[in-house]
Amino acid sequence: MSENNSTRHIWIVFWILLFLTAVEVLLGIFKPSFMLSNYILGVTLLNMTFIILTIVKAYYIVAVFMHLGHEKKSLQISIVAPMWLLIPYLLFILLSEASFHGAIG
């Protein structure tokens, strides 16, 4: 029955979100040393893992809980495209400027 299927889907996503959060919390408490000493794009492996897991969680919340995954393609694009365009741009400007903030006094 579709009634049972869709509520089961909601609970599966709940368990995924809970599992990802638990992984984040455990990594945050134990902080494995190899994840602190390895860098990807100037960010420690640990922080990169946190950021990627967060984006995965955001995907599930937006696609399933907010139901964007089942909306019309044009609606999906008009919500997601500005995000993917503007947020990386904003962060690039802010963080690259911060890197030489001290040098220009």
Binding site: E24, V62, F65, M66, L75, L91
Partner: protein, 268 residues
């Protein structure tokens, strides 16, 4: 007077010419989406500004684990656990909200009342937790800290009165005595000083979690309003529960923002 333009019939052949819903979503739902998108950009700017200042003041920036390490009714230091509980509560209330929307689609009033009620309770518990977290941050530790004349923060090395740790650097002898003489004792954190480190950490913490908490608060108020409407059969008479869905979008967004606040304030 005759309005000619009103008598001309407009031929609409194209989906984007008007009169239809090209995105197959109502006006209200579409506008909620666009509002949430702009709100997401606002929060991105806040968290980006937080990251900027953290880079600039990396040496004096407090480590969240050492600041937020209390748990209600338990003594000792338990970093991460309380905020993990808060995250769990908010994810849980997001699930109950989806279930309320789900029952709304099926015109099942009893189901909507049950799950919407649980969502409101989850939101209230989250707000209470945040108040608890703020109280402990504002109140600070028993020992407090020394705020130097230059704005730096130092702590006495345990068991001594003439040795201090300042931003990870041990200072002893004449330098330490001079610093202690010029410094004043502070406890806790507010918008002016912060015993754990740079005052901007406290400013950003109060501003960003406060702005998020205000979103949660308004969400709870709106949920209570539609809860009353559900009880009064407003949506039964209207023939659909779309209002529950629209408020649900807002509520999930609040959860979404918390996922990012959690990562960038407590984990990274």
């Amino acid at each position: 007077m005759v309005h000619f333009y009103m008598e001309q019939s407009v031929v609409k052949n194209n989906i984007w010419d008007g009169g239809v819903r090209p995105m197959v979503a109502s006006y209200g739902k579409l506008m909620m989406w666009f509002f949430l998108m702009t709100d997401a950009l606002t929060f991105s700017a806040f968290l980006g500004a937080y990251g900027f200042q953290r880079f600039v003041h990396a040496d004096a920036w407090p480590i969240a684990d050492e600041v937020f390490n209390h748990f209600p009714f338990v003594h000792g230091e338990y970093p991460m656990l309380f905020v993990a509980l808060m995250t769990f509560i908010l994810i849980m209330s997001s699930v109950t909200m989806v279930l309320a929307v789900h029952h709304g689609h099926r015109m099942n009033k009893k189901g909507v009342i049950l799950w919407l009620g649980l969502t409101i309770i989850g939101g209230v518990i989250f707000l209470g937790s945040q108040a608890w977290e703020w109280y402990h941050f504002i109140h600070g530790t028993y020992e407090g800290a020394l705020l130097g004349a230059d704005g730096s923060i130092a702590h006495f090395v345990a068991g001594t009165t003439d040795q201090i740790m300042r931003h990870g650097e041990l200072i002893v002898g004449q330098n330490a005595l001079e610093f202690i003489a010029s410094a004043r004792e502070i406890t806790g954190a507010n918008l002016i000083y912060n015993e754990y480190g740079h005052p901007l950490f406290a400013n950003f913490f109060f501003f960003i979690t406060g702005f998020h908490g205000f979103h949660v608060f308004s969400g709870v108020v709106i949920l209570i309003i539609i809860f009353i409407n559900v009880l009064r059969d407003t949506y039964e008479k209207r023939g659909h529960y779309e209002m529950v869905e629209k408020v649900g979008l807002y509520w999930h967004f609040v959860d979404l923002v918390w996922v990012f606040v959690f990562t960038f304030f407590y984990l990274v």
